[in-house]
Amino acid sequence: ELKVEQNPLFLSMQEEKNYTIYCNYSTTSDRLYWYRQDPGKSLESLFVLLSNGAVKQEGRLMASLDTKARLSTLHITAAVHDLSATYFCAVVPNSGYALNFGKGTSLLVTP
């Protein structure tokens, strides 16, 4: 069974601080996705990482993938309140094509 583990599950951080969310997975995969979800809303695609060493950046968020370590990181730089949301990583095993989600990291950015 594929396991996708995120940590931390809850994160409260101050504005302008930096932090990293981690996503570990248990099977061979070189396809990993990050999504954002606001309360009561659907999922918004943030990053698509499709190879070892892939790094993508959008604004204050940067995602990376290490397929050998089976690890992805989502780094937040100089957080702002608008980044408050739940962030999910999701993995597609090389043997399949369905997304398997982590439990999500609930991020709260405070002044």
């Binding site: 396809r31 996705y33 009561g40 809303k41 659907s42 999922l43 918004e44 695609s45 698509v48 999910f88 597609v92 094509y97 369905a98 997304l99 398997n100 989600f101 982590g102 439990k103 999500g104 609930s106």
Partner: protein, 112 residues
């Protein structure tokens, strides 16, 4: 705009009363998925269609069924909803060979 559209946005049903949720797409994607997301939990894959081929997850209850009459539409049928089936139901699509999923806005189901 090409989109994944779910109707209705909110659905209230009674315990045991069958309910159908709908999803349509204008992306002409091969694959359509149904996810269940309970409050403060990760989305959980119920099943998906790869073209006309239905793929059920092993732990999806028999109470949940799906139909895909054509490429554009997919339905989720809950035959006898229980209180534990209250959740957000998310439809998503992807093009075969490209796993980026496009999600609909979801249907929030309440069971009274």
């Amino acid at each position: 705009d090409a989109m994944v559209i779910q109707n209705p946005r909110y659905q209230v049903t009674q315990f045991g009363k069958p309910v159908t949720l709908s999803c349509s797409q204008t992306l002409n994607h091969n694959v359509m998925y149904w996810y269940q997301q309970k409050s403060s939990q990760a989305p959980k894959l119920l099943f998906h269609y790869y073209d006309k081929d239905f793929n059920n997850e092993a732990d999806t209850p028999d109470n949940f069924q799906s139909r895909r009459p054509n490429t554009s539409f997919c339905f989720l049928d809950i035959r006898s909803p229980g209180l534990g089936d209250a959740a957000m139901y998310l439809c998503a699509t992807s093009r075969a060979g490209n796993e980026k999923l496009f999600f609909g806005s979801g249907t929030q189901l309440s069971v009274l």
